[in-house]
Structures are given as C-alpha cells and as structure tokens.
Amino acid sequence: MNWLRIFILPLIAIPMLAQSSGAQKSVPRMPDGKPDFSGIFEWPKSPNGEHGKGSATIFDRKNFAPLKPGGEAFLEPRTGDMRHDEPRDFCMPAGFPGGMLSANAVRLVQNRNFLVIAHEFQNNTRLIPLDGRPHREGLEPMFYGDPVGHWEGDTLVIDTTQFKRWALDDYFYTNPKEFRMHSDALHTTERMKWKDAATISYQLTIDDPKIFSAAWSQDFEMKARPDWEKMGIFEYVCEENNRCPGGKCEKH
C-alpha cells in the first residue's frame, strides 16, 4: 500500500493544508464549506465612524453620497409630534437598518437555507433565505423589507428591498432637531464576512435614489460574545409596560 501513501494521500492532504494555512483557517464553517456565522454577537459597531450621544450605532454623515435636490427633507423632517418623531416610543418597530444598529445583543443562527438574525431589541427576527430564491413580488412596503441572501466566495451578501418610509438610524439622540428617514425607494446591501475567528466584518450599503445621488456604504464590525451564550437573548415585549408613551405617563 506504499503507492497509496506516496501518491494518493498527498493529493488529499495538500489542498487541505492550503486551506487551513489561509487567513480564514480558523473561522467556523458549515458542512458544505460556507462560513458559519452562528453565534451571539454585539450589535454592529463602527470603530472609526461618528459616535453620537446615544449608544446605538449611527451612520457617519461623511459617508453619505451627495443629496439629491429635496433629499434633505427626508433626513430632517422632525415635527415635534412624537408619533412621527420617535414612533418606537409607542412600541412601533425600529425597522431596518435602524433596528440592526440598536445597542442590544444579536443572535445569528444559520443552516444551509437560511440565516436567522435575531436581534434582542424589540424581539426582531429577520429570516434571510440562502437558497437562491428571488425577492417576493406584490408585497406591501415593510419596516424590515424583503431580504434574500447569496454567497460571493466567503462573503454573504444580503439584498433587501420593499421598504416603507421609516427611520434610518438613531441620529436624533445626537441632534434632537434631526430625524433621519429613508424613503420607500430604499435598497440595502449587507456584506458579511469573518474578519477573524471572533469578528464579523459587516458592510451596509444604502441605495436610496429618492434621497441620495448614489449608493454609499459604511463598514461595521460585529464582535462575537461567547460569554453571553449562557445568558442568551432576552425577551423584549415592548407593550408589556410602556408607561410613558410620547411623554404622557400612566398614573401609578
């Protein structure tokens, strides 16, 4: 059987060694070799991005593409009516991408056909099909849109469309006079890739042709928090005891 040891085993072993010696050698992978993002993570943070007064991550204005004429009105339409300016205070959804950037834990669960992004804030769960299906048609605009995913090498690309006009991020905590909203023409692209065995590189591209003259992107990172694994994701039922919606408190 020496011929087997000399000729066949190297043919098997050399590609395995080549793969394991690469930069991605230690990242978790699915049985089919695709990266496996399953785990518990911090929300996306942008180490070099603008830090607002709030704890949620915000988009950095320096990344914005130039506004189209009239685009400014979408970004700063704060009215003083809290049902418009901070609908989450009435337990309305944060929506995407704002909800994804909220400062809560994120649980990712992946199999061959789906990536589940379970965000602790508002119990939000996004189901990302990975089986090659196209976007659904004929849907009403949604807070979180209609996502579909596909692989480009080791990068998972999530394409989301069919949004309703809603909050873009938490910038109003930094400047209460501004409330950034995206339009119903929003189209987002997320690109997820293991940067190292403990960090997901997460890039979000905002393409909103009613507001911006071009698509623009911001780079984030999601840090794995295996120390949160035992604690897991907590329930977040906003309606349970929302005592002061819009600043009008229930008596106690």
């Binding site: 704890s55 205070d89 905590y173 907590f234 906003c238 005891n241 919606p245 408190c249």
Partner: protein, 143 residues
C-alpha cells in the same frame, strides 16, 4: 403633586459616597420622547415597588418633601431588563424597602415620573440603571 426644581433638590436626604462602575452603554429608546433634559431630578427615598418588565424597568420610590413633609411616590424608568442583566444589574439589585438616591430627568408631562439613570445605595455603591441616552445630571454624554 407638583414639586418645584428647588424643592426637588431639598429632597436630598443622605450624603452618599460614589463607587464608580464601568458600565457599557445600552439603548434606551425613549429618553428624547419621554423626559426633559432641562429638568434634572435628584431625590432620595424608600423603594416601594420594582417592575422588572420591558420595555423598561420601573422602580418606585416614596420621597419626603423636606419643606412640606408630604410624601410623594415617584416612578423611575431604567433600561430594558435584558440590557441591565447583561451588565450585571439583576432584578434583586433594587428591592422594596431599600433607601436609594436616584438621579435622572423629569417626565415631560410634569408628573412624578423620571428617568432613573443612576442609583446610589446607602453603602455608597452606585449602579447605572439606564443608559447613555438617559442623561445623568452633571455628567455629559456618558458612553
């Protein structure tokens, strides 16, 4: 019961040392909508009830007005239970019967409700019960 800002500061009962704890920021989605950053509240009193529920923990404190002698029950809003637990603030950190000092900002409707950003216990221990969004009097943009 309406209490002026001046009276609020008269409600301070105990001088308590602070033990600073490094606390990661967490989201509190309603500060801007619910509380008035121009109306700081700093009171000391006895905890009467704790609601360890979403979207925000609420705890209630009987506060004696040193000027009038009247006792008013105040409600304080903290962070979400999950966020607090993840930073080590569990449901039995604040319990009925405890005397605590609470700092925050008053509800926009002028009622006896407030954000409860920082709690100091009689032994000097201090915990942040809310978040960066919950401004804390005397501290700027804690993150």
């Amino acid at each position: 019961m309406k209490v002026s800002n001046r009276s609020l500061f008269c409600l301070l009962i105990n001088g308590i040392g602070l033990l600073g704890l490094a606390i990661p920021a967490v989201a509190h989605h309603s500060f801007v909508a619910e509380f008035d950053e121009s109306k700081p509240v700093k009171v000391t009193g006895t905890v009467t009830k704790v609601e360890w529920q979403n979207p925000h923990v609420w705890f209630y404190v009987d506060v004696k007005d040193e000027t009038t002698g009247k006792v008013a029950n105040w409600g304080f809003s903290g962070g979400a239970p999950g966020q607090l637990m993840r930073r080590g603030v569990t449901r039995d950190v604040i319990k009925p019967g405890m005397v605590i000092k609470v700092e925050g900002y008053r509800a926009r409707d002028g009622s006896n409700n407030s954000s409860g950003g920082k709690v100091t216990f009689q032994d000097g221990r201090m915990v942040f019960t809310a978040s960066a969004e919950d401004r804390i009097p005397g501290e700027k943009d804690k993150k």
